[in-house]
């Protein structure tokens, strides 16, 4: 361990694990090369959250993100290619413990949406992140595709095709 090299990013890709813990639970884990406060910040500041929550491969950008990150506070995400053609995802924070724990509800599907718990555990300057989703039933978890991606109306795909046909560049970084 050469201390002087601290802060230089070594491009080792950390591994994401996805596990179906039970009929009703999905658990995703990943280590980040940063302290917990930094990773937590990226999950709780809208302007930062927007930069990673909708990766290009998902095919649908995040239009807006509002977060009132405190117990009882609400959040709202809008996915879509334009405001007239968007899907909203929203809920409220049940628990907010800075740098270590976030719990929120997912209410867009009405009652009985999953509850998401994210924990941030710092070890030696790195953070182990565990995201746990508890669904109301096995069927609900079976049906859960990839969050926003499977709730996207077909017209988005058609719009994509149209944009390609028109020669417009898709997605701006």
């Amino acid at each position: 361990m050469d201390k002087r090299r601290e802060g230089e990013s070594t491009p080792i890709k950390n591994h994401t694990t996805v596990e179906r813990k039970s009929d009703r639970e999905l658990v995703v884990t990943r280590t980040f090369d940063a302290p917990a406060r930094t990773v937590f910040e990226a999950w709780t500041k809208p302007e930062l959250f927007m930069r990673w929550w909708a990766p290009k491969s998902m095919g649908v950008p995040l239009l807006s993100c509002e977060m009132d990150v405190r117990a009882g506070g609400k959040y709202r995400l809008e996915f879509g290619h334009d405001a007239s053609n968007s899907s909203a995802f929203f809920g409220r924070y049940i628990e907010v413990t800075p740098h270590s724990r976030l719990v929120w509800t997912n209410d867009e599907g009405g009652d009985g949406g999953p509850v998401t718990t994210v924990t941030f555990e710092e070890k030696g300057g790195k953070t182990l992140l565990v995201m746990h989703e508890l669904y109301p039933s096995k069927e609900a978890l079976d049906a859960a595709g990839t969050g926003a991606a499977d709730a996207m109306p077909e017209q988005f795909e058609q719009l994509d095709e149209l944009l390609v046909a028109l020669g417009a560049s898709a997605g701006q970084s």
């Binding site: 994401t16 596990e19 930094t38 990673w52 491969s57 990839t146």
Partner: protein, 121 residues
Amino acid sequence: MVQYSRTRLDASFAALSDATRRGVLERLGRADASITDLAEAFQMTLTGMKKHVGVLEQAGLVTTEKVGRVRTCKLGLRRLEEEAAWIERHRHLWDARFDELDKVVEELKRKEKVDGQKKRG
């Protein structure tokens, strides 16, 4: 994930360690069959076959469905494939997300370092 896969694999291998059970899988690969059919085909008691099918079911290699009074067995491999595909879909999304998150986090770290130097400087 590793532990989960290992448990699953252990159960699968244990299920496959018996010649009759391997025969049952082979037969179900050709067509679905009831427990009674299988018991007859392998010249076993109904109870004995139920046990074998139970082990295969536990390992996710066979699924059974009761229609009326007949319990039909079918190969459960498709279900395993579906499960793997389901996991993979989720993994693909989170992997992509977290790769982007890495970039954000790296940037925050750089900023913090610069700010720290400014404060000290």
